[in-house]
Symmetry: C2
Subunit: 407 residues, 2 copies
Amino acid sequence: MPEQTPLDLPEGDPFGPHNLPYGVFSLADERDRRVGVRLGSHVLDAGAAAHALGSPYASLLAQPSLAPLLAAGRQTWRDVRRALTAWVTVPAHREVVEPLFEPLSAVRLHLPFDVADYVDFYASENHATNLGRLFRPDSEPLLPNWKHLPVGYHGRAGTVVVSGTDVVRPSGQRKAPYATEPTFGPSTKLDIETEIGFVVGAPSELGTPVPLSGFRDHVFGLCLLNDWSARDIQPWEQVPLGPHTAKSFATSVSAWVTPLEALDAARVAPPVRDVQPLPYLDDTKAEEPGGYDIRITVALNGEVISEPPFAGMYWTGAQMLAHMTVAGASLRTGDLYGSGTISGPERRQRGSLIELTWNGAEALALASGERRFLVDGDEVTMTAWAPGPDGTKVGLGSVSGRIRAAV
Amino acid sequence: MPEQTPLDLPEGDPFGPHNLPYGVFSLADERDRRVGVRLGSHVLDAGAAAHALGSPYASLLAQPSLAPLLAAGRQTWRDVRRALTAWVTVPAHREVVEPLFEPLSAVRLHLPFDVADYVDFYASENHATNLGRLFRPDSEPLLPNWKHLPVGYHGRAGTVVVSGTDVVRPSGQRKAPYATEPTFGPSTKLDIETEIGFVVGAPSELGTPVPLSGFRDHVFGLCLLNDWSARDIQPWEQVPLGPHTAKSFATSVSAWVTPLEALDAARVAPPVRDVQPLPYLDDTKAEEPGGYDIRITVALNGEVISEPPFAGMYWTGAQMLAHMTVAGASLRTGDLYGSGTISGPERRQRGSLIELTWNGAEALALASGERRFLVDGDEVTMTAWAPGPDGTKVGLGSVSGRIRAAV
C-alpha cells in the first residue's frame, strides 16, 4: 500500500480543506520560522506555496509570524483562504504543492504572533456562579454587575506561551482566612482555566469604540487557551485591583489559530439573557448568532476530567470586544482576549480544578492518583472541535503544558 | 549678542550634561524617527552624532526607537552615557556635534519605545488611605494586604500615549449606589493620576524571579506618567477582577526617559515600614536606598493644583519589580510599570482630583472656573525635577494632555 500523501486525507479528518488553521513552524533551525497551514497531520509551508504558484499573497505569507496576515483585514483574510483552499484541492496544483508539506512530527510549532495586549474575561455564568458559591457562600453567587457587562481585566501579554511549553510552579504570598500573617512558598493550589482565545487582526483607532457589528472585521480567529492560576495566591493579592502574580506567570495557547470563516457552521444563538443589556451590548437584533458551538475536552495525564461546552457562554466574543473598546481603547494587531473559564451546568463540564474538586474538598480519583490541584509533572491537555459544513468536524487542535517544580 | 548655542547652557539648567534624557523625535517627516538626547532646549540627533564621531554605538543609536538601547543592558547604558557626556562637553567635539542639534520647538516628540506590558501599582500610603476613606468609610482605610505586598494590576499597553496627545472623554457604564440599574454615558468623573513610570530595558527569563538587587540591571530609567481614570465607571466594573475600561482608554507618558544614572543624587531612604515585609521584599539591608526624591508639580490649565512628593512612597521601584516577577513572570524590553498615584500627607500634595476634591465634595476654585473633575478642553500638565549632583537639578520633563469631548 502506498504511503498516504498529505493531500489524500481520510474521510472526516477534522483538519481537512474545510478547516485550514494557521500557525508558525520551523524545521531544523528554530530561527527560520514560516507561516504554516495545517492539513491533516501535515503542515504546508504557505509562503513557499504562494511563491511557487505565483500568488500575490507570497509576501504576506512568507513571514516568520502571522502578524502581517492578521493586519491585512477581513477581505484579505477571505481572499487568502480562498487561494489556500484552491492550492490544496485543485488537482492541477498537486505537483507543485505536495513537496511543500512537512509532517507535523518533523516540525516545531511556535507562538504564531507576538501578543499585543491580553485581556481575560469571565463570561461563563456557571463558572462565575461556582466561584461565587465557593468564595462568598453567604451572598448571591453572582455580583450585581455580572449580567450588565462582561467582567474582564488585563493580563500579561509577555507570558503567553505556545502549547508544549513547560510551566514552572509559581511562588508567592498567601494568607489562610484565620492566619494573622501571610506566608511565602510555592503555590499549593495550582490550577487550570479552560478558555477560548480571540485573536484580533485588524487594529482600531484610539477613541473610537468598536460596535458589536465590528466583531468579524477585527477578530481573525480563535485558539484554545489555558490560563494557569494559583488559587492560593490570588485571593490575598487581588483586593482591590484584581489578580496579578497569581495569573501572570504563564498563559498557554494552542499553536493553531482557526479562522472565523472555518467556524461559520458552528455559530449558535447565545443563551437567552434574563437581564436586558445596555444598547452597546444588546445582540438580540444582531444579523448573525454570536455564540460558537465548540466542544472541549480537558485531560490530566491523558485521562479526561472535563468536557466544557463553549456554546453556553453568557457573553459572546462580539460583546466582549464591544465592552473592551467602549471607553475608547484601541485594538492592535495581535491583541488576544480570553473568554474566561468555560463551565457548563454539569459537574463534568467544569473548566477548572477549583470547580471540579470544590476548592479541594472533593478529590478527583484518577489513574495517576488523587488530585485536588496540580502536582509537579502533571500534564494538562485541552483539545476541541466544532461542527463544520456538511457534517464535518473542525479541529481546533490542542493546548498542553506540563508542570515543573518551583525554582 | 550672538545667539546662544545648544552647548552654552545657562548655569543651573535642569537639562544640562548631568541629565541627558533620551527620547525619539522627528522633523518634517514624522516617519523618519530618531533617538534624541535632550540638552537644554535642544535635542541632539544621537545616531548622527555617533556616526560623525565614529562611535561604536552608532548602530544602537541610529534607530527609530529606544528599544535597541534599552535591550543592550546596564554596562552598555553606562558606556553610551559616558560617550554622550563627552560629546556634549569635550571642546574638541564641538564643531562636529553642534550642527546635529535641533531646537525642541522644531521637532515632534514621539512615544520613545513600544510598550510591551504595562503594570500599574498603588504604592503611596497616603493615596491608598485617602481612597479607602472615600470608598470604605466604615472600615480600616488600608486593606489587610496593603503593607505586605505592593498591590498592582496589568493595564493596557496599547493605549499608552506620548505627552501632548489629546484624550477623548471615555463613555461607559456606571451605577449610583442606590440606583437599581446602571446607566450609560460620557464619564462625569474624569480624573488624573500623577505617577512615576519605570521603564524596563533588559529582559528576564520566564520562571526566574528578579530579586530586589536586580532593579538596576533591568530598569533603564524613569518617566512621568498620567493614568487617566474614569471614577464613575471604575467602581461598578472593577468587582471582582479589577479596573478595566475605566483606566484603559489612555495613559500618558512624558517624551523623555531619564536614565537611573542621572538620578543617583536623588536617591533617598524609603519611609520606615511598620510591617515587616517577607524576605523577597525586605530592603532594609539593601546596598542602595530604594526611594527617589522627585518633586512633581501638577497644573490644570496652567494653574498649580498639587505638588506630590515621590520621596515618600511606601513601596520602591525595586520592590514593585521583585513582586511583579516573584511568581516567575518574565520581563521584556519596553515593559513599563507605574508607581500608582503619588500623594503626600498634605492636602496640596494629593495626586488626583478625587483626593483633591474629596470625590467632588469640595470643588477647587481655579482661575479657569470651579473644578470637581475634568471638563472638556481642560489641559493637565505634570512636570518634575530631582536633585542632581553638586546642587544641580535634573529635569524629568513634563507630561500633558487635553480633554476632548466624548464621541
